[in-house]
């Protein structure tokens, strides 16, 4: 069980690093807030991204932008990426 927790923590760190790259290089907001919400299933977590840059961007485009960036990030292991069960984007 301890191994599982550690592994999940590693995945979250890997996703956080990828999201920081996304916010800095693609969203243009290095100070965007990145947070994680656990789910009932140890293999999955939810991502929360808060940035004023999302204003006026259709909901679907925000999600697609984040997902495409993460799925094409060579530094993010697939195993970590596929632990994201949903992405919550907020403007402020």
């Amino acid at each position: 069980m301890v191994g599982t927790v550690t592994s999940q923590r590693t995945k979250i760190e890997q996703v956080r690093a990828a999201l920081e790259r996304f916010c800095r290089e693609k969203l243009g907001d290095p100070s965007a807030i990145i947070d994680f919400v656990p789910t009932d299933f140890f293999d999955f977590f939810e991502v929360v991204l808060i940035s004023p840059k999302f204003k006026k961007m259709p909901y679907s485009e925000r999600l697609e932008m984040v997902m495409k960036s993460l799925s094409s990030d060579p530094q993010l292991p697939r195993e970590a990426f596929t632990s994201i069960s949903r992405i919550l984007t907020e403007e402020e």
Partner: protein
């Protein structure tokens, strides 16, 4: 404590019909440019399909009540599909974004808005894209 002995009254065949019905509803709403409602309806196609698949996998006539959830990731897990979905580039991504829409309850209460055409057309793509569409992949 979850009661594992209870079942819903909805049968496997009902969920199969429901998936077909919601697809027709999604198409009709798009034809009528009812973009906002189509975004709300679209994910139910996946939900109904996965619930029928769970009944099939478990060889039950009706869905166990423990699966009364709208979480498409959880339903895909219990339908025994998550390992292959995760291994298929494009499909997991689309399932996660459809799940994000489906679990965002604000879509239930949004008034009709033409600006949701982008969201509606992307929902169609995520569901029915010839290669990466979730329903295209599930029905293969």
């Amino acid at each position: 404590m979850v009661d594992l002995t209870k079942f819903t009254s909805t049968k496997k065949a009902d969920f199969e019909q429901l998936a077909r019905d919601r697809k027709k509803d999604f198409d009709a709403l798009q034809r009528q440019k009812r973009w906002t409602a189509s975004v709300y309806i679209g994910p139910y196609i996946v939900e109904a399909w996965l619930k029928s698949k769970i009944c099939e996998r478990l060889n039950f006539e009706t869905l166990p009540a423990v699966f009364k959830t709208h979480d498409l990731i959880v339903l895909a897990m219990y339908a025994g599909l998550m390992k292959s979905i995760k291994a298929t580039p494009g499909v997991f991504e689309n399932l996660a974004v459809i799940n994000t829409f489906h679990r965002d309850s604000t879509w239930r209460y949004k008034v009709a808005d033409q600006s949701h055409q982008t969201d509606s057309n992307k929902m169609r793509d995520w569901l029915f894209h010839s290669q990466h569409g979730v329903m295209t992949w599930l029905e293969r």
